[in-house]
Symmetry: C2
Subunit: 477 residues, 2 copies
């Protein structure tokens, strides 16, 4: 097991330095590489395979609600971007500008899309004429560019992969329902497929998306007690439809403006997965999105029949994503690699196991060893993976609950954040000044006004004035 220790020693302990642990895992688990250009990362095959599984599962959920995929232009003329003032003001400081095409300077600068509300609006303007054309429920999977100053793999980078849904509707009610529906899709996907519990709520005016009337969010809590915004859904009202003139003729033959939404989820969620489930041996990937669900590791693989049996088991497990590690590394090293890469289940099979018709299953999340008869192994593996998927969510929920506190006044509030991190529930008067003061004092931001409200006290935790809304506060990524 000497080389096992060596590989594991290559990552910093998460208790010593969580930030360094995170970076180490991204690199050592082979998810990403840094590129030649600051803030742009290479997503390597193992990292991209996780994203492929996320895309597949989320896209299926979208399509069940009637969403269709499209492809919109990468570039946006400055004049088009500027039509809706709040959006351009929000994004102008972080847009990458194209100023030449080939050897010719352009007559107008083109932005690389930081988000595509403007492009979809410009398209919908000509695409929609009658109430019969509504709703339009379009989405695209693509990359966007935002010129961030500080960057970290998956969490904040100058280019990232995402999906952006953009819908238009005949009525306010329908658009509002779609905004909520997609937030539920995100929350369900994160819980059921990524085993990440979240709190659903509304962003404050300060924290909402530039140009939105209201922004809804699913907020997750990382292992270190910091929050990560993991998906957002925006209701635009008629702001864009009025700025871009998206009208339709209604049944009563009058011209009306459409109601609009957008919603997005990014490769950030891979960062969330790492920081919610990972441990000091590396990644732990929930079975639903694991590129490899079972690693079969033969013991004494040169002995007659061992590799054959390993491959036989692989064939029996054809309903799962399975790999046999038949390289010439030692079993200990293979174990460490499988753990680093967060492969949910290890199947150990050696001559002794074969002689008694058994193998050993080892769960990545708990380390639990399970002796399992080869007869019926397929069902057993299914059960263990299902249990792991469920229990990972339960543990993450328990962790989130254990790091969630309540504060009635500012002393309590400050004491929580002086001590460490986590979600703190506290009342808020609704004024931005209190948010600004809390940010200034403690580096803490309002994560959301949760849908599930509680009456903590009647007074704003910051200014003491009457308050009706409970807000979730945290330090955030």
């Amino acid at each position: 097991m000497a080389d096992n220790k060596k590989l594991v020693a290559e990552i910093t302990s998460m208790d010593d330095d969580f930030t360094q642990w995170y970076t180490d895992v991204c690199i050592k688990a082979d998810l990403i590489a840094y590129s030649h250009i600051k803030g742009f990362m290479v997503i390597k095959p193992y990292g991209y395979a996780i994203w492929e599984n996320i895309m597949k599962l989320l896209d299926e959920r979208f399509k069940k609600t009637g969403v269709q995929n499209v492809s919109m232009p990468l570039l946006i003329p400055e004049s088009l971007l500027a039509k809706e003032g709040e959006l351009v003001n929000g994004f102008a400081p972080e847009v990458a500008w194209v100023t030449a095409g080939g050897t010719e300077p352009l007559t107008e600068r083109l932005a690389i899309r930081p988000t595509s509300e403007t492009v979809f609006s410009d398209f919908y303007k000509d695409d929609v004429h009658s109430y019969r054309d509504l709703p339009r429920l379009y989405n695209q999977w693509c990359s966007v560019v935002r010129w961030e100053k500080e960057t970290r793999p998956f969490l904040r980078s100058r280019e990232f992969l995402w999906q952006e849904g953009h819908t238009i509707h005949a009525t306010k009610e329908e658009a509002e329902e779609r905004t909520q529906m997609m937030l539920r899709v995100y929350a369900d996907f994160l819980a059921e497929d990524m085993a990440i519990p979240t709190i659903k709520g509304q962003k404050t005016e300060k924290e909402k998306f530039a140009g939105a009337e209201s922004t809804y969010t699913v907020e997750a809590l990382m292992h270190d007690g910091r929050a990560l915004q993991s998906g957002t859904s925006h209701f635009f009202g008629q702001k864009f439809s009025k700025a871009y003139d998206i009208t339709y003729t209604d049944k009563d033959n009058t011209l009306k403006y459409v109601w609009q939404t957008s919603w997005g989820l990014t490769t950030r969620t891979i960062g969330a997965m790492i920081m919610v489930h990972g441990d000091n041996s590396g990644l732990v990937i929930p079975p639903h999105i694991a590129p490899v669900q079972c690693a079969i590791i033969p013991i004494q693989q040169r002995k007659e029949g061992v590799l054959e049996k390993a491959n036989e088991i692989k064939d029996v497990l054809s309903g799962f994503r399975v790999k046999v590690d038949d390289t010439d590394k030692s079993p200990g090293y293979k174990f460490a690699e499988q753990e680093m890469r967060g492969i949910p289940l290890r199947i150990e099979i050696g001559p002794r196991d074969i002689s008694v018709g058994k193998c050993v299953l080892v769960r990545r999340d708990t380390g639990e060893k399970i002796e399992a008869p080869l007869d019926g192994i397929e069902q057993k593996v299914g059960e263990v993976l299902d249990a792991m998927q469920q229990e990972m969510l339960v543990r993450a929920e328990e962790h989130m609950n254990s790091l969630t506190s309540v504060a009635e006044d500012y002393d309590e509030f400050r004491a929580h954040f002086d001590k460490g991190n986590g979600f703190v529930k506290a009342m808020w008067c609704g004024d931005r000044e209190c948010e600004d003061k809390i940010k200034e004092d403690l580096g803490v931001t309002s994560r959301c006004i949760p849908f599930d409200q509680e009456e903590i006290s009647g007074k704003c935790v910051c200014c003491g004035r009457p308050a009706k809304k409970m807000v979730i506060w945290a330090r955030a990524y």
Copy 2:
């Protein structure tokens, strides 16, 4: 059927004006829309669903050969792009340049990727150390930007979607075999899934990819007799590995440069599909890549039991991609729409059909009407779709053969192209001057030196000097 004629009348006849017919089909079959920015198109849901099917089927073929997907940065620093001289010279006139990030001008211009050999090379340089790390068989699905002057939907646009595979190998032989293997993957995919026959061959020095040692191509022939390059595979030798210093330590402990390939297929193939299979009623989509394979159209749908039966048939056909058109349009209009959109099979079901336990299947490619008992409909639909998939390829092959001629001398050669379009097989001495003269005289280019060589004559069709290579010539898109 009045409104049927009206819808069909909206597209120009392909015999009157093939170019206009093509554009009409792209718009009327709902594949694309023009965007606010010249040369950039919106791929609408129906067009994108075709691309999704192409991606799925081609990606499966890639993965069977060991290819893995990754994501590489969108932007390339000018200095990195310039390291391999031929490539940058080839692409410099059509690169879009980013010169500002947010409010700050950049110290170095960044190119939006026109292709990613340079980015992959820069990545591989640090990623590969030992012969054990080879081969690397990476691919990405993304969009690229090339500042073309003349643009047409799918065929030539300033942004297009594609996949680009980039592999590195320990030996020349292995890289050459991979180059050929991926060309075969393209040819097989185009034939078996898109029903498009192609000719496999090598590009001449003049027509090869900038920076490649050799370029291989699959060339298809459109309905109007023009050629379309439908996929290319490049062998780079060690050009990039020497320019970007991609070395590995071999088994003999010496440092060696890797051997490299790249290969790509784009949304152009949707253009090929339109121009190979379409007719005067619109699109004809091969069943394998059709977003909707069967359109069930109820006749007298208000009569009791008709819609129920239509939906019942849909449920029975759950193994196919099926849609019931229960809108309040007339059946004639629905037929015309289904034809315009190229849905392979129409299933007509009305009260009279129900009373005798039958329905009518209508093939989109031949117009053939088939009475089919509802009992066993699933198997029948499968058979008809299979037959259609096969026969579409056979017809396209026959069309290609009927438009393929042989020319022994320049008079014959010129006569062919004066008369019209098509592939012409003729000998070539190997000199670029002859290619230039043929281009100048006739607007005809060498499509490839086919792998299947024939001995047409001993002399170059242009200059009359001795010639050993047979070339396929055509006017091309």
